[in-house]
Amino acid sequence: MGLIHIDKLTIGYKKRKNGERKVISHLNLDMNTGELICLVGPNGSGKSTLLKTITGLLPPLDGEVFLSGRNIRSISSLEQAKLVSMVLTNPVQAGQLTVYDVCSLGRYPHTDWIGSLAQEDHDMITASLDAIGIRHFAHRYLHELSDGERQKVMIARALAQNSKLIILDEPTAFLDMPYRIEIMHILKNLALKEDRGILLSTHDLDLAMRTADRLWVVNRDGSFHDGAPEDLVLKGVISQVFAIGEIAYDAERGRFHIPVHPKGSARITGENGKFRFWTERAMERIGFISQENESAEVHVHIVPTEKCMTWIIQTPGTVKHFSNLTDGIHWIQTLKTAG
């Protein structure tokens, strides 16, 4: 039995005068424990609408959603809270609450009328803090933490809620890169080690493709794709869904192509490895595509010298030595504009 089973689901909003605005129609989806699924798609494609419908915040226009085999139309919000927990985008602003306090609030669906915590609850909270690796600041106040730390606390709270399914709505939107990667790493581990199902929406396509077991891709036209990230790239789904004008997904390199005005070609020789890679990147940035051909307008030769690396840049008629790329690139650009 799957964590999520979606049967002929149509999602969208009801309009005032009996009208409907359908966002996605006739969706059939399944999700199992141990899976990390990333929901990706352009802005306004219906990611939030889908998450809201799955968590019962928005009634489906048609079709059914089953969580752990139970139809969400027929379960109370308290029962549902035992099946699915949520982490939202916005960092929580709450004063005078410790990390442990916030985590303990996750026990809400399980505690008695006054919310007193039994030993079992304390064990669950401690285990959740351990799983996220934040037990060492359990007694710090939430308002003293950074946004990234706070988001980890909210994930620990979701764990303490002890639901098999955790849904996260753009949990890393406000975070810097290392935190984004760390949070994704934590979520991946939760799926693998604790056998939870993790469904999250994100705008970080690159990170999602490198972590998720499956991607759910929503397009603005209401089409929906489900599959391993690599399959979706090979089928051309990613480049089709995420292309806007000149910005396109480069399936060969697995990244977005940033449009630059092409100025010519460059031949890069000498040192290999990271020096070659970053020299190529630098040349590409200013519009010189790397090629093996002798006919290239610019020839960059990378040689290690005693103290540092040296870039010998040769253009028709001139040769110059540089100890870094900053000066080298600058020289090529001034040369080009002058010529």
Binding site: T55, L57, S76, S77, L78, E79, Q80, A81, K82, V84, S85, M86, L88, N90, V92, Q93, A94, G95, Q96, L97, Y100, D101, V102, S104, L105, G106, Y108, P109, T111, W113, I114, G115, L117, H122, H139, H143, M154, Q161
Partner: protein, 354 residues
Amino acid sequence: MILSGHFSIRIAGIMTFLLILLIILFFLELVLGSVAIPYQEIFRILTGHGSSHDSWIMIIYNFRLPKAVVGLCAGACLAIAGLFMQTLFRNPLAGPDVLGLSAGASLGVAIVVLSAGTAGASSILGNLGFFGSVGIAIAASFGSGLVLLMILAVSKRVQSSMTLLILGLMFGYTANSFISILMHFALAERIQAYTIWSFGSFGGATWDQIQVLVLFAVFGLICSIFLIKHLNVLLLGDQYAESMGLNLIRTRNKIFIITAVLSGVVTAFCGPIGFIGISVPHLCRALFATANHCILIPACILLGACLALTADIIASVPGYSITLPLNAITSLIGAPVVIWIIFSKSRNGMEVSV
């Protein structure tokens, strides 16, 4: 929510201190007044041994003791009502009056006082007689009850609590503008009667009325214990609370009803008392360094009662035969607290602390 060892000792310590302070203030309220009564005599009167002066028994039983009991209840109720509103709306400047309940109560009283017949007005003027003050209490309850019904009707259809906060404020403004219109056409002596009511007072209630006040206050405070769990989870915001299984609209309505009972009954008997509801929850959070309602609710009851009694003692100006308007004193104590909150919060870099 967990409390580590030294933390719970600290909390128990402050709580005991507040309780002792409350007992002292309650006794001071009985001792201090325009007529000097030795405290030994007060003990004798309270323990039922009588006194050498019959008038002293009269003063204690019919004037100072009712005032102390009303003050205690009013402070506790308003502080809890304020705490509820701050938690529900996640707004540090919310108080029991943000829903427009006290404005509704004021409108009810204004209609009775400003447009009633001369006989009614004059009896209200001196707060004399059973009919006068009960009439005011009924008018006030009716006014705040009506506002509550409007809020509950809207609450079903509105998802965002912020919208309700704005609606409550709008109800308040509307009620206040009706009052202004009524005052514009009213006779000077009735305006004065209304103004005196709006100054607020813990005095003037008979024991029959105090029974009603205490009954509602105790009922409201007991009900609030059942809300502790829900209030705590609301600290993370409406959306998180709902995702954890909280029925937002039902819980919100329960909070509204209890707030209306607590602040409505106080406004009915004491007039619109300001600032206690805003300042006490903040003081409690700062004192106990927690947002856990398990601690904040008893703390607010104790500190609210302490502040109300302190304000009343100051307002009655011990040793003189004059009394100051109670609301002026609560604001004199309350305003510096609110200023302190704003400054300390901006220093801590916290935007909202509820």
